[in-house]
Symmetry: C2
Subunit: 154 residues, 2 copies
């Protein structure tokens, strides 16, 4: 059974995203053990404070990653684009725990991006971070269905 941690900055505020995420987590329960770890989004008042807020969020992410072993994957639109089948093959290879990291509303600071972590892109398009979490879970579910040969209509 896959062991997956989703490390995300910020809460899911929209009910519809929360419900969709809840449904995919439920559907995934026979296939994967998934933990969602949320890092509090850093508040900021002015435009000029954004970089500082991102830096603090990045430091908290790094602290978590130092204390937790696993295959670290950063979600970044400039990362590698997989098809759903390639993503399923990629997950199938991993025996180790996988830690997916999703940035907050501000995206990632350089203190994360400069690291040699593997980067996965859900799309060249930029998605809201709440939507990205939902899409990632849907793709992990789709990958589980592909791996187990289960039919999954889309």
């Amino acid at each position: 059974m896959m062991r997956i941690t989703i490390l995300a900055v910020g809460k899911i505020k929209k009910d519809y995203f929360r419900e969709a995420i809840g449904e995919y987590l439920k559907r995934l329960s026979p296939y994967a053990k998934i933990d969602v770890e949320e890092i509090e989004a850093e508040p900021f008042k002015r435009e000029s404070d954004k970089d500082k807020a991102k830096k603090i969020e990045g430091e908290k992410i790094l602290k978590f990653l130092e204390k937790n072993e696993g295959n670290i994957i950063i979600l970044d639109e400039k990362g590698k684009n997989f098809s759903s089948h390639e993503f399923a093959e990629f997950l199938e290879d991993k025996n180790e725990r996988i830690i997916f990291v999703i940035g907050g509303a501000l995206g990632f600071h350089e203190n994360i991006l400069e690291n040699p972590y593997r980067k996965l892109s859900l799309s060249k398009m930029t998605f809201p971070h709440e939507m990205a979490r939902m899409i990632l879970l849907e793709q992990i579910y789709r990958a589980s269905a592909i791996m187990s040969g289960k039919e999954y209509h889309y």
Copy 2:
């Protein structure tokens, strides 16, 4: 103001997708006149009837496209990948009505794919058609925000 038609096969059954779509349509109302036209999904019982069902859906799409003028864009994961900024530039160019076509749970039949319509990909990944409609609307909203210089957190 942009004039956009979304021609889609099948209904939105999940409440959370319907709510998200409703919210993006509402947020888009100052920027675009958007019509959503739904074609009924063709029922099928056996695996072997799927192709026939897709073909009938395709014929209904073609009938709509013959009767309606516009810039036709087929959503297909094998199409062109735009970044959100490139997508905004692409929309900015269009004075004509744009007709986005989204397939149903079965995807498109060859009778659609063989046509020289422009193809747009939201991602190399395959998404459920209900999710694709939500993501398309979010990207049109994001494009509107980019074009009007409005800040939009993600």
